[in-house]
């Protein structure tokens, strides 16, 4: 076929009910044609909540990373951070769409107009207390040293989790995880190489990397304790028990930090899950408000 002159021509000519492709148009459902039947014996509300947890981790970290665009130390790193954020945003879309397919929409559906697909309603029309991300991803990025340490820790946890989630009884989650593993592998390696470079670099880069480590490590307390929802889904063969990730996560992080000549802090004592239960700091409210401002001001906008 003769290609359209521009992408916009192709979209404008698309024989779709909505001739635009953008937020709020419902142009593209990331799970179109995917069988979203909930596996037998699994509570749809539990499955949906679990998808929110994993989707919100990706959405919030993507937003944090995107804050480095136009502010990164070098152009190549800016492109790298944007690419990693885009992968995470894609994972978030798939997971929030999966959450929506189970009917877990909270207050978002009543606030979003009908033409807005579920994943956009969940991203743009939930309040901060409805987010289920852990405290690890919502903390401000700090300087570049702290940013790459957090990316290392967050992608190590997520890769360990997704590698196990490939065996989930929910085929949609298993497929999203199998795809995500390819991406998280190079996210983690990229962050690890930066931690090596900074930790084993100059006195100043070492100092900043160590400060990043010392600031990020306590956030691990909110990551590895399962909520009741996760526990039920672990029993049903759908979810991964985060407590079971500690050995792998600790092993990987210790390897990187020791090679980077950084001091490994004591592992924080486990606490009752906060982020997964909807308890967040003021930093998340600020992040969510910025992310949602356009959609909330112009809820029916298309462009």
């Amino acid at each position: 076929m003769a290609h359209e002159e521009t992408v916009y021509d192709a979209l404008a000519n698309a024989a779709d009910d909505h001739g635009h492709w953008a937020f709020g148009t419902g142009f593209d459902d990331p799970l179109a044609g995917v069988d979203t039947t909930v596996p037998e014996g699994v509570d749809p509300a539990d499955l949906g909540t679990y998808c929110l947890m994993l989707g919100d981790d990706a959405l919030v970290l993507a937003q944090r990373l995107t804050q480095w665009v136009t502010a990164s130390p070098e152009l190549e790193e800016e492109v790298a951070v944007a690419n990693v954020a885009l992968d995470l945003l894609g994972q978030a879309r798939l997971l929030l769409a999966r959450a929506g397919s189970t009917g877990v929409l909270g207050r978002s559906r009543s606030q979003a107009t009908d033409s807005i697909p579920d994943e956009d309603a969940l991203a743009y029309f939930r309040d901060p207390d409805e987010f289920r991300n852990t405290g690890l991803v919502e903390a401000p990025g700090g300087d570049f040293g702290r940013t790459v340490v957090r990316l290392l820790v967050a992608s190590t946890v997520r890769l360990a989790l997704f590698a196990r989630l490939r065996g989930s009884r929910d085929p949609v989650l298993a497929a999203i995880a199998a795809k995500g593993v390819h991406e998280l592998t190079y996210h983690r390696d990229h962050a690890a190489r930066w931690v090596l470079r900074l930790g084993d670099g100059t006195a100043e880069s070492h100092r900043r990397a160590q400060e990043g480590v010392d600031a990020v490590w306590p956030l691990l307390a909110d990551v590895l304790t399962p909520t009741d929802v996760e526990q039920r889904l672990v029993d049903a063969g759908v979810a991964v028990d985060p407590a079971g990730l500690r050995e792998e996560v600790e092993g990987v992080l210790t390897t990187v930090l020791e090679r980077a000549t950084l001091t490994v802090p004591a592992w924080p004592a486990a606490t009752a899950p906060r982020g997964r239960s909807g308890q967040h700091g003021p930093e998340l409210a600020e992040l969510v408000a910025e992310m949602q401002s356009l959609a909330r001001q112009h809820p029916a906008a298309t462009w």
Binding site: M1, L86, D87, G90, R166, K179
Partner: protein, 176 residues
């Protein structure tokens, strides 16, 4: 043979497949979606709807919406009235699915094609602390003496390299 709903003439699934296989990738326009391995299946349902399966390359690939629109548009223009483009997530796409013809077209278009994708076992993913060892021949002069400039580039699927022989920069589709 199941036939598709068209403007009067009888068309087969093979006709629909020929049309779908001509649709090109919006970001790598020298490749068809079939060359890229994104087009997984074309079939005709009992009610005459042409069903096309596509799979995303990366989770965040922003081109999926355009691919869907291009496929629907091409099939409509060829006279197929009812078209349903569906996403298939499993198995996950890898660069090994890029066809031989696709690899040749990439190189002709100045983009180095990927090598073999890494083998992935079921257990924990091993950490790789050294630089990713990729090799790619320069698509412009053929030299093997090339060096990676940036692991990330204009799209998620490509790295940026430079040829030490002819001095030209070029893009390389990363193995994934």
């Amino acid at each position: 043979m199941v036939t598709a709903v068209t403007g009067g003439t009888t068309r087969t699934v093979d006709d629909a497949r020929v049309v779908a296989e001509t649709v090109t990738d919006p970001e790598l326009p020298m490749l068809t979606l079939a060359d890229l391995g994104v087009l997984r299946d074309v079939r005709v349902d009992d009610d005459g709807t042409v069903v096309v399966d596509i799979t995303p390359t990366y989770s965040g690939c922003p081109a999926m919406g355009v691919m869907r629109a291009d496929l629907v548009h091409a099939l409509h223009r060829a006279g197929f009235a009812d078209v349903d483009v569906r996403t298939v997530l499993s198995p996950a796409w890898t660069t090994d699915w890029i066809s031989e013809a696709g690899r040749r077209k990439l190189a002709e278009g100045g983009i180095a094609p990927p090598g073999r994708a890494p083998v992935r076992a079921a257990g924990p993913v091993p950490l790789q602390l050294g630089p990713t060892r990729r090799t790619a021949d320069c698509p412009l002069c053929g030299s093997a003496d090339t060096v990676e400039q940036s692991e990330f580039s204009a799209t998620a699927c490509k790295a940026l390299r430079r040829c030490r022989s002819c001095g030209e920069p070029f893009e390389h589709v990363k193995e994934i």
